[in-house]
């Protein structure tokens, strides 16, 4: 099931990743609201970060949309200004996707109160447009929805 996620425009500059044939679907899938993660044709395991062949079985990989749901695996609230154009606070996190344990990606948590942040908090993806790159960010799941 593909959940079409909302897209926002980036408000501050980011150091954008260099696109490669392997990582392009992940970084650009947000244009269509899809979080595209590699999956092994042979053993069905999800694979991230993007690579050339399945690290488990050596099988070929294809990009496939995941649900965009996950939990906060860990996080840090950065309040020190390191980048001159990026005002703090910034919530940096690693999110674990629901599809598979150990399927993790670094991200930012947006639309959350700092006090509600905790390891295990359910979150869902939103995308931030930065040119052709769509950064997957995560926001707490609205429990009332």
């Amino acid at each position: 099931m593909t959940v079409t996620a909302s897209i926002v425009d980036g408000a501050v500059p980011r150091v954008l990743p260099r696109l490669t044939p392997e990582n392009r679907p992940f970084w650009t899938g947000g244009a269509k609201g899809a979080l595209l993660i590699q999956r092994c044709d042979a053993c069905d395991r999800w694979v991230h970060p993007p690579t050339d062949v399945c690290p488990t079985c050596g099988g070929p990989l294809h990009p496939e949309a995941v649900s965009g749901r996950g939990t906060i695996f860990t996080f840090t609230v950065n309040v020190h200004q390191f980048h001159p154009d990026v005002p703090p606070p910034v919530v940096i996190a690693i999110v674990e996707l629901v599809e598979q344990s150990d399927l993790r990606l670094p991200t930012n948590i947006v639309g959350a109160e700092v006090d509600e942040l905790r390891c295990g908090l359910p979150v869902q993806v939103v995308f931030e447009r930065n040119g052709e790159v769509y950064i997957p960010l995560f926001t707490p799941v609205d429990e009332r929805a």
């Binding site: 980011r14 150091v15 990743p17 970060p49 860990t74 840090t76 996190a93 790159v133």
Partner: protein, 391 residues
Amino acid sequence: MIDVVERGAIISGIGISRIGRRTGTPHLDLTLEAGRAAIADAGLADSDIDGIATMGDTPVADTAKALGIEPVFTGGGMTTGGLLSPVMSAFLAVAEGRARHALVYRTVQMMGGEVIPQGGGDGDGGGRNEEMDTLSRIMSDIEPLLAVHAYSAVNWVGMHCQRHMHLYGTTKEQLGALAVNSRRNAALNPLAVYRDPITLDDYLNARPISSPFGLLDCDVPIDGSIAVVVSPAAYAPDCPKPPVRVQAIGGAPPSGSWTQRPDYPKMSSVDAAAEMWGRTDLKPGDIDVAELYDGFTFLTFAWLEALGLCGDGEAGPFVEGGRRIALDGDLPLNTYGGQLSAGRMHGYWVLHEACVQLRGEGGERQVAGQPEVAVVSNGGGPIAGCMLLTR
């Protein structure tokens, strides 16, 4: 038993430059201060040195020229044993006879722990590409981290610490016990940059940086240089000072990750420690003094667990209250004040201090009962190296 090549090497001399913050002293001056002190300490002349290894400031060629030597061995990088890779490369070169006496140094000038690439997005020329290629070789996930504004090691390590707290109940008070202990030791080290005592309240009330870390979880950038001379074991009888012997070294392979280890929040330190313990019959219980990397408080916790000095997840209770890690405790830890208080010599003051303690030259901060075995470690995340040194 495997052939433990590094046991063919000893540390015959040590040297340290003036240490300070924003001193304005040229890096070559600092390097030569430390280097010449180490060479003299080893009972050698500049012309006896035929190998040089380092990383970072003051390239090998500049030092060789200033010393008037043409080294047959040069070493560097950080891909075999983290920041201690140059030292380890010298151990092996000297033990294998590729060099006789090698000078190894690390010189820093207010070095920080953040990565802010120059230039913006795609297509801004080759400089950024080259920088990212270099960084990616030692930190495979640096690009996805920078993409989410995680510019500093304080962010990367902070997330490990937060996860450790979640899994094991580790507390700020436990981290603070390490910071307070280090400051207490720094007060006994004339070269340490921060020597005024701090309390646990000072630690807890320090300016927040990146949760769960505040300012006093972070090490102190400084200017300085530390050097050691690596000589063959056969030189030991001729050393003017007690030779420091190399029992075993351990490192981690390059290009690991800050975010993807299956055993997160463990780090490459567990791989380096496993390699080191696989090269010796000594056990964690044999260690008399520990000089463990503390770029951030939590990195020392990670090393305590990786080295088996306490159980997995038990670093917090191990350090709590500070008695066990004090100079007169069961495991004196970071006896010179650590990078947290003495200053950020980027993995080399731990090495220097292990030698000081094993030689019995610690003065007011000397661990009683003459330590016989010291462990030295450096690095965090995908960068890790450690070594066991003995008298």
